[in-house]
């Protein structure tokens, strides 16, 4: 149980934070400034984090949603870090 809760909470945060970079970069490529893009991504991201937690605990707290969230979070954070290191973020 604690592992699954950690997967949902920490994986969800990684998904939020990493996802915000990816969404921010995508928005910036549509013409928004960096700060504006990141603001929009952060606003949407925080609501999505709540949604992610609800989904993670929804029906029921099993490994599948927890694993999906954790893996997605790792993928999003890795992609965001790679973008930042390559100067793309």
């Amino acid at each position: 149980m604690p592992c699954r809760i950690a997967c949902v909470l920490l994986g969800g945060y990684a998904l939020w934070s990493g996802g915000a970079v990816l969404l921010g970069v995508a928005l910036r490529n549509t013409g928004l400034s960096h700060t504006d893009a990141m603001l929009v991504a952060t606003m949407l991201g925080s609501l999505c984090y709540v949604g992610i937690i609800i989904w993670g605990f929804a029906a029921p707290l099993r490994w599948r949603p927890a694993t999906v969230i954790a893996l997605s979070g790792i993928a999003a954070a890795t992609a965001a870090a790679w973008l930042a290191r390559s100067g793309g973020a």
Partner: protein, 524 residues
């Protein structure tokens, strides 16, 4: 409530709602309580710092150039290099100056803007120096407090959403309160009632709080990642310039000397045209004073606009020319609207009171949720898990009535220490803060010993402390409520009234809790 997440959606959400509330409820109550107090933080300042109880200036009378002279005179022989001025307004009728000198000496000066005389620097932290920081970062060192409060805000959003999901009859909750029922039932009624009526406010205040400091906890996308490659940092700083953080280096040769007051008036005139409403300067930042590259940034805040602090005009102090006039983007305006909504910088007393009531409703919602859970569990677990019950009871009491009691003790000790005194060699503010935490710790120990009876005991103490605070304020300043009304000191009238109301509610709660409903045998 369920111990394990159930297989269907609603029971699962019930489980999340229960445990997120139990685990983080204490923290949420502290944050909500301190936030509610912070709605009137400036008024609390004036109550705790009697030297700042000045009459509100009918019109701005500040001569900004004379403030410069006052700052120079405060440290004779030292070269003044930087000055920030928080201008006087109806809530804080004095100017607050932070002066920095060439040898890095810093001084904080408080100036009566009608007489232009210095007011002794307040030795108490008051509301803005202690209660507000407790709200935003729990006065923990480093970034820990910010992160904890951020996760608490996420948890609050989660609790609100799951709370809506688990309610079968959310409309009926608007009209259901049965105080005559047993405590378990009536506390749940109050939890539902306060939660449903103020749901939009609670959701927006939590979300806006999350957005105010978004830059802190989104450090990966904003700062950490770009910092690793160098160049994007410069891009970010340039962009930050557009958002009101103008900076430039000193030239190293003398210059400046332009009168400040006309520049401030010019900025206010520009904003009046732009917004169609009076927008007085509320914050002035003067850097590189006496240098050829000296500049003054003036920020305005329209008292009747929700959007906070988006106006900034920067003047060159050598020529008086505008070197920057920020026009915020739509996204930035949205973010600043959320910030303005949360920080309540606008000047509208009716809405300010609504915030206060909404905040108290949030406290009530969290407290009654706690009471419902602990009463429900007490009967079931008292025999099998007495230590667990005792611990949760102590946590609950300390988190709810303990925090309220500690706040009252903070006010009382403020009025007990004479002006200028430093008992035991400690500065006054240290004694006040230690009293707060000491009283809080004592409530936790008391709750561990007295268990359910601690609610009633502490309610009586809260009532006593509230009345004592009013009387001590009268004795030490002469400002009893009638005198305060006569002198137009509405901050003091409001503070005393709230303390009196606090006492009345605490007495009611003590009597209600004393009617043996909070017993192990309490059942629905």
């Amino acid at each position: 409530m369920a111990d394990q997440p159930n297989t269907s959606f609603r029971p699962s959400m019930n489980w999340v709602h229960t445990w997120a509330g139990v685990v983080l409820g204490a923290l949420l109550f502290i944050i909500f309580w301190m936030g509610t107090m912070s709605v009137f933080d400036r008024e609390i300042d004036r109550w705790m710092q009697p030297q700042t109880r000045l009459a509100s200036p009918a019109a701005p009378t500040t001569s900004y150039d004379s403030l410069l002279d006052i700052a120079r005179a405060a440290e004779p022989g030292k070269q003044l290099t930087k000055l920030t001025i928080g201008t006087a307004n109806t809530r804080a009728p004095f100017a607050t100056i932070h002066a920095t000198y060439a040898d890095k000496t810093r001084r904080t000066l408080v100036v009566d803007t009608i007489t232009n005389r210095l007011i002794p620097e307040p030795a108490s932290l008051g509301g803005t120096g202690f209660l507000y920081p407790m709200h935003i970062n729990l006065i923990l060192p480093g970034v820990w407090g910010w992160w904890i409060v951020m996760f608490a805000a996420i948890a609050m959003l989660l609790l609100l959403v799951t709370g809506v999901i688990i309610h079968h009859k959310i409309f009926a909750d608007f009209f259901t309160f049965r105080p005559e029922k047993k405590l378990r039932r009536s506390s749940l009624d109050l939890h539902n009632l306060s939660g449903t009526i103020f749901l939009p406010f609670h959701f927006l205040i939590t979300f806006s709080g999350l957005m105010v400091f978004s830059g802190w906890y989104t450090s990966i996308p904003w700062y950490v990642a770009p910092a690793s490659v160098g160049e994007p940092v410069a891009a970010l700083i340039n962009e930050a310039d557009q958002y009101g953080h103008f900076r430039r280096e000193a030239a190293g040769r003398p210059g400046g000397g332009v009168a400040l007051a006309p520049l401030v008036q010019r900025a206010e005139a520009i904003w009046r045209v732009r917004h169609g409403t009076a927008t007085p300067a509320d914050y002035i930042d003067i850097d590189h004073i006496g240098d050829a590259q000296g500049y003054m940034a003036v920020r305005g805040n329209a008292p009747r606009r929700m959007v906070s602090d988006v106006d900034e005009i920067v003047f060159d102090l050598a020529t008086g020319r505008i070197v920057k006039d920020s026009t915020p983007t739509t996204t930035r305006t949205v973010q600043k609207w959320l910030e303005g909504f949360h920080l309540v910088r606008f000047d509208h007393w009716l809405i300010r009171w609504f915030y206060f009531i909404g905040g108290l409703a949030g406290c009530l919602m969290i407290a009654t949720g706690f009471v419902f859970w602990s009463v429900s569990r007490r009967k079931r677990d008292a025999q099998t898990q007495p230590l667990k019950v005792r611990f949760v009871e102590a946590l609950t009491v300390a988190a709810v009535s303990g925090v309220i009691l500690a706040t009252c003790a903070y006010f009382v000790v403020n009025r007990m220490i004479p002006e200028g005194a430093s008992p035991g060699g400690f500065p006054r503010f240290v004694i006040e803060v230690l009293t707060f935490f000491g009283a809080w710790l004592a409530t936790a120990v008391h709750a561990g010993v007295r268990q359910a009876s601690a609610w009633k005991d502490q309610a009586w103490v809260i009532a006593g402390l509230s009345v004592a605070a009013i009387l001590l304020n009268w004795l030490t300043t002469g400002h009893h409520p009638i005198a305060a009304i006569n002198r137009d000191l509405w901050a003091i009238v409001g503070m005393d009234s709230m303390l009196l109301l606090n006492a009345v509610v605490a007495i009611y709660a003590a009597r209600r809790l004393g009617q043996s409903t909070l017993t192990v045998g309490d059942a629905p």
